[in-house]
Symmetry: C2
Subunit: 195 residues, 2 copies
């Protein structure tokens, strides 16, 4: 997605430890006009998949899911990060390892909001090793829901999680895939190769 | 806001401890069509205030802020909940007591995203004792930003935080104010009295 590539090049900051900071437009301050373009692009990619619900994880996936949901005309459900002690039988839960923060957490989602009749689109801001997506896939599996697609704004291709999901047969589309990243520059994967 | 009142009466669940669960449409599963009506109403109430940024706190304020921001055509910034040990000199921070969860947390917001030239609208899903709003007001004060308004989807009027903010002179508008709440029923404050 060209305007996203350009925005990452203009405003993204590469930090040590394979961190890409895009907090000026995507996940702390958020450019809602850009998010509308992103939502429209997700609809172009997944609009024919008969999706009836978009799921994501708090916090940085929520704005993306909410804006995109307007194009699909469906509700969103966001999984919450919880301390294990809060979990009871009314929720699906999945343990997720957070790459960025180096700590584990449990994602929970109330059972009444996801079931076998749902065809879901999983959306998130980042995909690196894919742990967050695997957690949501695990929750969808527990619910008996069908995962019609996985949409990601920025995939760190060099960390392998995205290709692993593609190899497993998931319909994953990332709007920008970074194959190389140093403080001196960012190399995107050829866009035609990704869809 | 009549359709919000009706939705709270239809789908809200009153629990012990003054808890109103609206997680089927507002803060876990989210009805994006309703959120668009809410965003439009916030714009009707605050659209002439020359707002250039909407601020909120993760997580349940984010979708509301993102959808509303489309009407104002401004970016959003959401404060993050952080462990105190993560706080450095690059962020504004404010200690917030969480009524719902009974635990304290620190809200942080990067200094580069808020400053003296900003006229902000503070948005959130709930106002009870007003601690979250006071935290964001504190952060805006640290930044030297002007708070042009505070918008809340559901105010628990009987807990007093909203009237305290009005008495202090803030331009607070709540789309639904609950004056009484029991498992048997909910009494809303007269809408004309609130604007």
């Amino acid at each position: 997605m060209e305007i996203l590539h350009q925005r990452i090049l203009a405003d993204g900051v590469v930090k040590e430890g394979n961190i890409l900071k895009v907090d000026s437009f995507l996940n702390h301050q958020i450019d809602i006009s850009l998010l509308n373009e992103i939502g429209r692009e997700f609809y172009r990619l997944f609009g024919k998949e008969n999706i009836n619900k978009i799921i994501t994880i708090e916090s940085s996936g929520i704005a993306i899911a909410a804006i995109a949901a307007q194009y699909f005309n469906v509700p969103i459900v966001f999984a919450k990060k919880a301390a294990s002690k809060n979990i009871d039988g009314e929720v699906y839960s999945s343990l997720i390892r957070s790459y960025t923060h180096g700590n584990d957490y449990t994602a929970i989602l109330e059972k009444k909001f996801l079931g076998p009749n749902d065809r879901v689109l999983i959306l998130d801001d980042f995909l690196a090793t894919g742990k967050a997506q695997l957690g949501l896939l695990d929750i969808a599996r527990q619910a008996g829901a069908t995962v019609a697609g996985i949409g990601v704004v920025i995939e760190k291709g060099f960390q392998g999680g995205g290709d692993h999901l593609r190899d497993a047969g998931y319909n994953l589309k990332s709007l920008a895939i970074i194959d190389e990243m140093t403080p001196d520059g960012i190399v995107f994967r050829n866009e035609e190769a990704t869809y």
